[in-house]
């Protein structure tokens, strides 16, 4: 009796700790479900300008820079050359830069990409699904995702060449 009673006590206390821990972590970290630095990058399922569907899993094992942008957003347009330059610099070193357009027409995005000579993968988000799951409010917003799928850094606003280079460097070394 004594032994089984102790076992029951321990099992019940453990269950309470597990359930309680779960409740607290989901409530506290799950503030609006927005990803934060250190949390796992949400998956996406988007059509690229290349006509293929791209997901986050595709870039597993690579350092990933996800840039959310729109053609109407001036700072987004201004940071495009920096992103392109970094894409060229790092593309052989397992670093991928992808741009996710915030809900514009394919044509507008295609024209824009041609005009500013962007060659990194650009994806369309017509339903703004990724915008929602990444909790984007101002544009541009850039997520630096380490090879294990965790968000290393979230940058709000325009990026210049130097900070971008630093961030990628940090990402690769993380």
């Amino acid at each position: 009796m004594g032994k089984s009673r102790k076992k029951v006590q321990i099992i019940i206390l453990l269950l309470i700790v597990i359930l309680g821990g779960y409740a607290i972590t989901t409530q506290v970290s799950g503030s609006n479900g927005k990803p934060t630095e250190g949390s796992k990058a949400p998956n996406f399922d988007l059509l690229g300008l290349d006509g293929k569907v791209h997901t986050l899993d595709e870039y597993k094992g690579k350092a990933l820079v996800v840039n959310f942008w729109g053609t109407w957003c001036e700072p987004c347009v201004k940071e495009m050359p920096a992103l392109q330059a970094q894409y060229d610099k790092w593309k052989d070193k397992d670093v991928v830069i992808v741009g996710i357009n915030a809900g514009e027409d394919k044509m507008a995005v295609e024209n824009f990409v041609k005009q500013v000579h962007v060659s990194f993968p650009v994806m369309l988000d017509p339903e703004k699904d990724a915008i929602q799951s990444y909790g984007i409010s101002p544009l541009p917003t850039t997520f630096f995702v380490s090879p294990n799928g965790k968000i290393n850094k979230i940058h709000l606003g325009q990026l210049d060449l130097q900070t971008l280079d630093q961030q990628i460097e940090e990402l690769v070394n993380s």
Binding site: L19, G20, A23, G51, W72, A108, P126
Partner: protein
């Protein structure tokens, strides 16, 4: 009590029963175990029938101490009071989740001043999601489970192995007591009495000169049933955090469009949105003549579609199947398999969806034909009569940047503009560039003709013209629906129902017990109930009357704290 636990008291009763540490009344015969208690004449403490609670142990170790903490009713009451106070803090200012689009870091300061800023900084703007509040709830849950286990098992044991013959002192120190001589032989008296007691709905057990009668024992389980209900309730609320069990989002549905509901396999079409206003006469006196416009009813005729194929492949069109239709009004949501769509808001700004312009010769007025131009995701190439039109650029909200280059200022189709390259007869071989503004206001504001003349070094012989409103497709309004899924809700109801059952058990029945023994022609009767002492005294007086013992109800009262 603790002293006694620590002092390793001999807990063996004179009847030979070995009691666990912390026992107040012998588990077998009911004799008080403490000497001091035995000398007293006060009414016995009958809580848990004098059994030791599970948490009362001689040598509490670390786990026992945690167990004891949660098993304490005092601690539980403090936790409930703290939770109440915490909940009150959350009602001072509106919580963050009651707003759709605010930036809480500035909103509270701007709206409520310094107090609001402190409120936000303390994290009280999301009180009910804060770690300390959830921790309190978890601790109350733990307390519910442990308190119940700590008490229900000893109580269960005490009530299932009751001895019929109790110690005399156990009987004389009950709150309801009768002592007096009987005329009949003891066994015969007990037998006759048992018949009368049975008639009152008691289950009667006799043993020679002693009797135990008991009824409505189940009401003792009421509080524990309430606890089980509350635990189910808490677990259900907790389960809402699991993916897929809970969703609460606001989605805009422009009239006439099928739109995907994020994170589901459903699509919803707003077939038609209507709003009715109160007429001037229907308005209350205070509002009349003040140009107040108050909506009386707003309604969305909605069709729900379920995606059956190509759902998660953005390169393909999903296959949709209509599954439900409902006229959604305030307080009358669409409900399909737990997915609920509530009317939330509306916007009556018309949105241009597509136009059907004609290609017209400016001089002769000859109409070469029409084509459908969608504002969102337009086709790239069109063929009209002998002419081919290639769409080169599209601007949702036309404007010029600092270099005079055309740009789109916002992603919203406020001032859509299209740049075509037109080729065909009587045009230069490389074609002409033609800017087209579907909205008349934009056409004039941006001087469409002047731009086109400038681009081509002279006036263009053709023009695009929408002939009449019949060729314009507008979405007249947008309805905002609150999409909700709450699959944990049935469990919340089940929990609440169990709580109610427990309350009924505990409130409407009382556990009544009568013990009696006859020693040398003298009857000693003791009775116990958890409430309604008046009722049990009356019952016993009636039973004794049947046995030819005239007793005044009040004289049965042995004092003590009546509840």
């Amino acid at each position: 009590m603790m002293k006694e636990v620590i002092a390793f008291k001999n807990t063996k009763c004179e009847c030979g029963h070995q009691n666990p540490v912390g026992t107040v009344l012998c588990e077998a015969c009911g004799r008080p175990l403490e000497e001091q208690d035995r000398e007293s004449n006060e009414v016995l403490e009958m809580r848990y029938d004098g059994m030791a609670r599970r948490s009362q142990r001689a040598n509490p170790n670390f786990i026992d101490r945690i167990w004891n903490f949660f098993s304490s009713v005092k601690i539980a009451v403090y936790m409930i009071i703290l939770t109440l106070l915490g909940s009150m803090l959350g009602t001072i200012f509106p919580q963050e989740n009651t707003f759709l689009n605010i930036d809480p870091s500035t909103y509270y300061k701007e709206t409520y001043g310094t107090a609001g800023w402190i409120y936000y900084k303390l994290g009280l703007s999301h009180t009910y999601e804060s770690w300390w509040f959830v921790l309190l709830l978890v601790m109350i849950g733990a307390s519910l489970v442990i308190c119940s286990l700590d008490r229900v098992l000893p109580l269960y044991k005490a009530l299932t192995k009751q001895r019929i013959l109790k110690h005399k002192q156990f009987l004389t120190r009950q709150r309801v007591v009768y002592q007096g001589p009987v005329e009949l032989e003891s066994k015969e008296w007990v037998e006759q009495a048992s018949v009368h007691i049975k008639k009152r709905g008691y289950r009667v057990h006799t043993l020679d000169n002693a009797l135990l009668a008991e009824k409505y024992r189940f009401s003792r389980w009421g509080p524990y049933v309430i606890h089980i209900g509350l635990i189910i309730f808490l677990l259900a609320v907790l389960a809402r955090g699991l993916p897929g069990l809970h969703m609460d989002q606001h989605v805009a549905f422009p009239e006439g469009e099928i739109k995907h509901i994020p994170n589901t396999s459903y699509y919803l079409k707003n077939e038609k949105f209507t709003v009715e206003y109160y007429s001037e006469q229907d308005l209350p006196k205070e509002f009349q003549g003040k140009n107040k416009v108050l909506p009386k009813l707003f309604k969305t005729q909605a069709t729900l579609y379920e995606c059956t194929a190509n759902c998660n492949d953005p390169s393909k069109q999903p296959t949709l199947k209509a599954v439900d239709h409902h006229n959604i009004e305030v307080n009358d949501p669409m409900d399909y398999k737990g997915l609920k769509a509530y009317q939330f808001d509306y916007d009556l700004t018309p949105v241009l969806r597509s136009v059907k312009p004609s290609l017209v010769d400016k001089k002769t007025g000859k109409d070469y034909g029409t084509f459908q131009l969608k504002i969102k995701d337009p086709e790239r190439n069109y063929k009209v009569g002998p002419y081919s039109l290639e769409l080169k650029e599209k601007y949702n909200d036309f404007g010029l940047d600092e270099n005079g280059q055309p740009v789109t200022k916002t992603p919203n189709p406020n001032a859509p503009a299209f740049l075509f390259l037109i080729k065909g007869p009587n045009l230069p071989a490389e074609g002409v560039h033609y800017f087209y503004f579907p909205k008349q206001v934009d056409k004039e504001r941006f001087q469409q003709d002047a731009i086109n003349a400038k681009m081509n070094g002279g006036s263009v012989p053709l023009e695009l013209d929408v002939k009449g409103m019949g060729n314009v497709d507008l979405s007249m309004s947008t309805t905002y629906l609150n999409i909700r899924v709450d699959k944990a809700m049935p469990f919340v109801w089940v929990g609440a129902a169990i709580v109610m059952l427990g309350l009924v058990l505990g409130f409407y029945w009382q556990h009544r017990r009568i013990w009696l023994r006859i020693d040398d022609g003298n009857l000693t009767l003791g009775a116990h109930t958890n409430k309604n002492w008046f009722g049990i005294r009356r019952e016993i007086a009636a039973i004794l009357r049947k046995m030819n013992l005239e007793v005044d109800e009040k004289s049965l009262d042995n004092g003590g704290n009546h509840s």
